[in-house]
């Protein structure tokens, strides 16, 4: 009988060199490839074409509508409120569950990659995919809104860049939140939709401090502190549509001194993402990912 300690790994060859960086990079790339091979991104792309299509329709049928108003309605209201949470939910909910359902998670668990790293790398790939979708389609929406308008292209490009960055930051935070929820419940889609409707939909629109727990509140504040949302009126004046729609006391407190500053808002979203990721990673190290059990059979 051969002692385990003296068992030769291979006949005539030494152990291959093992690099964790290589393993991590491969897992990240594999997850990105999985996103591209699925039909999910096509569905998401179609959903993101909705504001683009709406912009085109409004521009063609109601040329009097100021592009600034259209931008606010579509880019700052519709996309963050409806599309960002859904795209994040659909990608982040499947970080581990998709691999479990397809029974391919075994091939990942058998590698020298800790479970927290499997989760984190797959989350990073979900963040990359969603952020890329958001940036591309935000840019397309801006093109649809401002093409042929009198607004200088440099100004539009600047606003587009800011909006895309804010959307990317928000969708990354949503991915972290929904990724964590996916480890806490098997009904992540239902819980995610409820979270989106109640927390990000209802609570975020209340002018109380409860909205401090919502992602969209910080995204709106970042937008408000970095962009202007004054829409020209027919009488020659202008109106701050964001302050009214987002329940911000811009009249009584022009600098919104009682609300978090720009740096704080960005930090809160990044720290929240990090905290959710760390907790989820820790949960993964404690969990078994069953592929086949007597119960399931």
């Amino acid at each position: 009988m051969v002692d385990a300690a003296t068992t030769t790994p291979t006949a005539g060859r030494g152990l291959p060199r093992i690099s964790r960086v290589s393993a991590f990079w491969t897992l990240y790339a594999l997850s990105l490839r999985q996103h591209l091979h699925g039909k999910r991104w096509l569905v998401m792309a179609l959903m993101f074409l909705l504001p683009v299509g709406l912009a085109v329709v409004v521009r063609l049928t109601a040329p009097d509508v100021p592009p600034e108003a259209l931008e606010f309605a579509l880019v700052m209201m519709f996309v963050p409120q409806a599309l960002l949470p859904i795209v994040a939910l659909l990608y982040a909910s499947g970080i581990i569950q998709d691999e479990q359902e397809e029974q391919t998670i075994t091939y990942l668990l058998l590698r020298p990659i800790p479970k927290w790293a499997i989760y984190t790398l797959k989350l990073l790939s979900a963040m990359t995919t969603t952020a890329a979708l958001v940036v591309v389609f935000t840019a397309l929406t801006y093109v649809a809104i401002y093409v042929g308008a009198e607004t200088p292209i440099g100004e539009v490009a600047g606003r587009c860049l800011k909006a895309a960055s804010i959307h990317a930051l928000a969708v990354i935070t949503y991915c972290s939140v929904f990724g964590l929820i996916s480890l806490l419940t098997n009904r992540v889609l239902i819980v995610g939709i409820l979270y989106t409707a109640i927390v990000e939909g209802l609570l975020a629109n209340l002018p109380f401090s409860i909205r401090l727990i919502t992602v969209i509140y910080y995204a709106r504040l970042i937008a408000y502190r970095t962009m202007t949302f004054r829409v020209p009126l027919s009488d020659g004046g202008s109106k701050d549509v964001a302050a009214e729609a987002w329940q911000l006391p811009a009249v009584s407190d022009a600098k919104l001194a009682e609300h978090p500053q720009l740096g704080t808002c960005i930090a809160v979203l990044l720290i929240a993402s990090l905290a959710c990721t760390v907790i989820a990673g820790w949960l993964c190290t404690q969990r078994e990912f069953h592929v086949k059990t007597p119960e399931k059979e």
Binding site: M1, V2, D3, A4, A5, T7, T8, P9, T10, A11, R13, L15, P16, R17, I18, S19, R20, S22, A23, T26, L27, L30, Q34, H37, E102, Q103, T104, T106, Y107, L108, L109, L110, R111, P112, I113, P114, K115, T285, E288, F289, H290, V291, K292, T293, P294, E295, E297
Partner: protein, 308 residues
């Protein structure tokens, strides 16, 4: 001597269902067969040995190290899982290469390892086809390749021959035997005795999550042979055959199967019984058209051993 895989008083529950029940087992180097009927706990045992499952009780060690949450150890372990699941959109080569890269092999090494391993399992010709188009045998081969690609010391193969055609079965058995002769420690699970018997004399029997027996296949067979075998014989003159068989000392009972023109014999010495059959034709002209044993399967043997 440190066992390659060691289970010490291990139990695993899934809620109220027991997967493994107080199992203490030391698997030594070489090829070992893990036998048990469906639901015996073979897959649970292998998942415990690869750290995919955490024991509810007891300790599992591989190569002297605990396996739960010890991902570093995975570079020395390879598993061919039972489930027929793949990244279907990948080609066979892509799948094995990706698994090599996931194991931490550098790009060049991974490429060479993938080529070599695919060659080992006889899939070079089909490596550039998408896995979704593979036959069951090809899928089993490529699944074995991913388990081998990082050159593990310990290989755990969960029902690797299931669903394969005779050619693939023979090839895979050759690969497994070759791995054993190259010094790898291989634990192969199966629910078919003769499959494992032709791979290794060293077997472990599991039933309902418990260790029923372990050791040399010959010892196990002796245990099995204590269990009365039921052998069915078909002959035109089956009534005369029944009368003749009753005269054998080792025959415990004979039942006439009138509708099938046959008899069912119960014997505790099947080998001796089979040995006497040619003489029945040669000396007494009793032509036997068919002989088969319908209970020479593990399920019956396990029931017998568990009752013992």
């Amino acid at each position: 001597m440190t066992p390659v895989v060691a289970f010490h008083d291990v139990s695993k529950w899934y809620g109220n269902v027991i997967g493994i029940n107080k199992l203490t087992l030391a698997v030594r180097a070489g090829v070992t067969g893990l036998l048990g009927p469906n639901g015996a706990g073979k897959s649970t045992l292998l998942q415990l040995a690869t750290g995919q499952l955490k024991p509810s009780q007891g300790a599992v060690r591989v190569l002297g190290q605990p396996v739960w949450n010890n991902s570093t150890l995975n570079r020395r372990i390879g598993l061919c899982p039972e489930q027929d699941a793949f990244y279907e959109w990948m080609t066979g080569w892509d799948f094995v290469h990706t698994c090599a890269r996931l194991s931490g092999l550098a790009r060049g090494e991974a490429r060479a390892a993938a080529e070599r391993t695919i060659e080992t399992v006889g899939m070079t010709k089909h490596k550039d086809r998408a896995i979704r188009g593979y036959s069951k045998g090809m899928r089993q081969r490529i699944k074995l390749a991913q388990a081998l690609v990082h050159e593990p010391d310990v290989l755990l193969l969960d029902e690797p021959l299931t669903g394969t055609d005779p050619v693939a079965r023979r090839d895979l058995m050759d690969v497994i035997q070759r791995l054993g002769s190259e010094g790898k420690s291989v634990l192969v699970s199966s629910h078919v005795l003769h499959e494992v018997q032709s791979l290794t004399p060293s077997i472990v029997l599991l039933s309902r999550g418990r260790l029923v027996a372990e050791g040399n296949v010959r010892q196990i067979r002796e245990l099995i042979d204590e269990h009365p075998h039921q052998i069915v014989l078909h002959a035109d003159d089956y009534r005369r055959l029944a009368a003749r068989l009753l005269a054998f000392d080792d025959v415990e009972g004979v039942r006439v199967l009138g509708g099938e023109s046959g008899v069912m014999v119960e014997t505790r010495a099947p080998d001796a019984f089979y040995g006497r059959l040619p003489a029945l034709y040669l000396d007494e002209g009793l032509a036997i058209k068919a002989v088969y044993s319908d209970d020479d399967n593990l399920e019956a043997v396990f029931k017998y051993l568990v009752r013992k």
